[in-house]
């Protein structure tokens, strides 16, 4: 929240993001910030009394990417090492996930994206990020620690694109039978996004539904929204409520997220 000292974990996550962007600056026009850091950029003044928290930086790479700079070399030179799964890059205190929207990825590979001219495991394919390629806008991002004066102008996925991505993450996890507490945060992020002015979300969703690159995932996410958040007793609503247990009234969050989901669904009909 403005004026608050940010969580040190959040500071590290932003620092890692800026390090990775510096390394990949040659690809900057094909890079879109997604994930929690993007969500917080849009919802900063949606004060909820629930701490912002993310330890990683999710970055979407939108093909086709040029061959230079080589992603693997650049990331390693910047001090990152590959993690346990494709697309995960770690340094001492931070993690950057390089992700490629599945629908836009070159053919081949199961989880790893086959980006021509780059190493096999540099990025991971993720379904639901397609909207980030369609609906984004440039924003100026700075470091969160006073001693770090770096700023980067980069593309940030729109709230609607982020909503689609979060709903896919939740919807797919729910299909794998694993609605664990880790996902509660994602459900709460959906609530954060749904609190944005309805016309912002409606306009963005219409754009995603109309663009062939993102239409399919956008349609699927609308279905997820209805199924996961359509009522205060639906799984996503319950998860969002569970996330605030002890800090706020879970019932309020359940009712509120369901109300907002219904409003959005209605305006999309």
């Amino acid at each position: 929240m403005p004026g608050d000292v940010p969580d040190p974990v959040l500071v590290e996550a932003r620092r890692a993001l800026l390090d990775a962007l510096e390394a990949l600056s040659g690809h900057l026009d094909h890079i879109v910030l997604v994930g929690a850091q993007a969500v917080y950029l849009h919802t900063d003044d949606v004060t909820l009394g629930v701490a912002l928290f993310t330890k990683d930086a999710d970055v979407a790479l939108i093909p086709p990417l040029g061959r230079e700079p080589n992603i693997e070399t650049a990331m390693r030179d910047a001090g990152f090492r590959p993690g346990s799964q494709p697309g995960i890059w770690l340094d001492e205190d931070g993690q950057v996930d390089l992700l490629v929207p599945e629908g836009l990825a070159p053919a081949g590979g199961r989880r790893a994206a086959r980006l021509e001219g780059h190493g096999k495991g540099v990025a991971r394919k993720v379904r639901g990020l397609e909207g980030a390629a369609v609906d984004n806008e440039f924003q100026l991002l700075g470091a969160l620690e006073p001693s770090d004066s770096r700023t980067v102008r980069m593309r940030v996925a729109s709230p609607a694109a982020l909503l689609v991505a979060k709903l896919h993450k939740l919807g797919e996890r729910q299909e794998e039978p694993r609605a664990d507490r880790l996902s509660d945060k994602d459900a709460f992020d959906v609530y954060r996004l749904l609190q944005l002015p309805r016309n912002v979300l409606t306009r963005g969703m219409r754009r995603l539904l109309a663009d062939e690159r993102s239409a399919e995932v956008a349609r699927a996410s609308v279905a997820f929204l209805g199924r996961l958040f359509g009522t205060d007793g639906a799984l996503g609503s319950v998860m969002a409520g569970r996330y605030v247990e002890g800090v706020a009234d879970p019932e309020t969050v359940r009712l509120a997220v369901a109300t907002l989901a219904q409003d959005l669904l209605l305006s999309l009909e």
Partner: protein, 382 residues
């Protein structure tokens, strides 16, 4: 007659009430009758009960009746029955059952003396066979044996209604006086306090009497109010007042959160005042509000104007119709939003669920360090 009574202090002790009985008898009893009051009756009655006084009435025909006098500072209709159970066996009540004699020798009836007896109380006492007198001049003496009857009318309305001692700070008048005492820094005379509280002097006086007796307000005799223990007074008020119980309130859901509601309050035509966490957070360090509490004049109108959805549980907005309009008074504005006076905010938080009481403490701490920012000297412009 009653016009002059109101200016006199209400008789309340036994001695004062007996004196007023004597005065009324001397003034009102018709010529030819004689009355005498024995304030220290010797034990003429049986059992535990000793009358407060004994009244002897003698008619012009020399018929004489003796009445035991029972003094009550106040007497309500419901008390008449209790009195009858307590004292009814002491004398013969109408109709006189044949062959029965009065239970107590030398007592022909009981006369109840009080400050004021309402018409209903009087008629109940009459039915139960009591004689009565009150300090406004209502008098009825009726005995069967010997047959005596005097009835004189006094006041129909209680001239000292406001002097009934107050026991709680529950009502709207209390809210007005307490708020004035908190909002305005003494010293000031009671009369000015009443003006600032927009109350009749008598009403303000009752609340002040209670607070003086409980040592939250410093006042010597009838002098000016010299000091107010404002923190103690807030706590005392919170014992009798509660945001959600003293006022009419209803919960709603603002799905974008309490703060989102604030921006929309500007759409309202009527007065409103934000209280609770949202108001406290403007002054003290408190966590973001989980509940928006707003005073409004008409809950239903405002809810429909703002498009709020009713949420009996899980709501994050509560609209409150205040028990006293003072909730809308001496408010302050910040960024085009109107907030309730800080003492009001404090007592509302003290009596709110969840984090309310803790937030009240934080606010009170701020109020302590910044007394000049929220308290002003008493003045007519109020």
């Amino acid at each position: 007659m009653t016009g002059t009574l109101t200016d006199l202090p209400a008789p309340s002790t036994e001695r004062e009430l007996l004196a007023s009985l004597e005065a009324i008898l001397a003034d009102k009893v018709p010529e030819g009758w004689s009355v005498s009051v024995d304030r220290e009756p010797s034990g003429r009655t049986q059992g535990q009960w000793r009358p407060d006084a004994l009244l002897v009435v003698e008619a012009p025909n020399k018929a004489k009746a003796r009445l035991a006098v029972e003094v009550r500072a106040s007497l309500y209709p419901r008390d008449a029955y209790a009195l009858s159970t307590e004292l009814g066996s002491l004398w013969l009540r109408p109709p006189v059952p044949k062959g029965r004699i009065p239970t107590v020798d030398d007592v022909d009836g009981v006369l109840v003396v009080s400050r004021f007896l309402t018409e209903r109380t009087r008629s109940m006492l009459e039915k139960l066979g009591f004689s009565y007198a009150d300090a406004t001049g209502n008098l009825r003496i009726a005995t069967r044996v010997p047959p005596l009857f005097i009835e004189i009318s006094g006041a129909d309305a209680n001239p000292w209604a406001e002097d009934r001692p107050l026991r709680s700070l529950r009502g709207p008048a209390s809210a007005r006086v307490v708020r004035a005492l908190l909002d305005f820094q003494p010293p000031y005379p009671l009369r000015l306090l009443a003006e600032m509280a927009e109350l009749p002097l008598g009403s303000a006086s009752r609340v002040v009497s209670l607070l003086v007796s409980e040592a939250f307000v410093e006042r010597t005799g009838r002098g000016p109010i010299e000091g107010v223990d404002w923190k103690g007074l807030l706590r005392r008020w919170s014992q009798d007042y509660s945001l959600l119980e003293a006022n009419r309130s209803k919960f709603f859901l603002e799905p974008r959160g309490p703060k989102a509601l604030l921006a929309r309050l500007m759409e309202l035509d009527g007065p409103y005042a934000v209280t609770g966490s949202l108001a406290a957070s403007r002054r003290a360090e408190v966590a973001p509000a989980a509940l928006a509490a707003v005073y409004v004049r008409n809950i239903d109108k405002v809810a429909s104007r703002l498009g709020l959805r009713s949420a009996p549980s899980g709501g994050n907005v509560v609209l409150v119709e205040p028990l006293a309009d003072v909730a809308f008074e001496r408010t302050w504005d910040q960024e085009a939003i109107t907030y309730a006076a800080l003492p009001q905010v404090a007592v509302d938080l003290m009596t709110s669920p969840g984090r309310g009481p803790a937030e009240a403490e934080a606010l009170i701490e701020w109020m302590e360090e910044n007394e000049d920012a929220w308290r002003r000297p008493g003045s007519r412009s109020g």
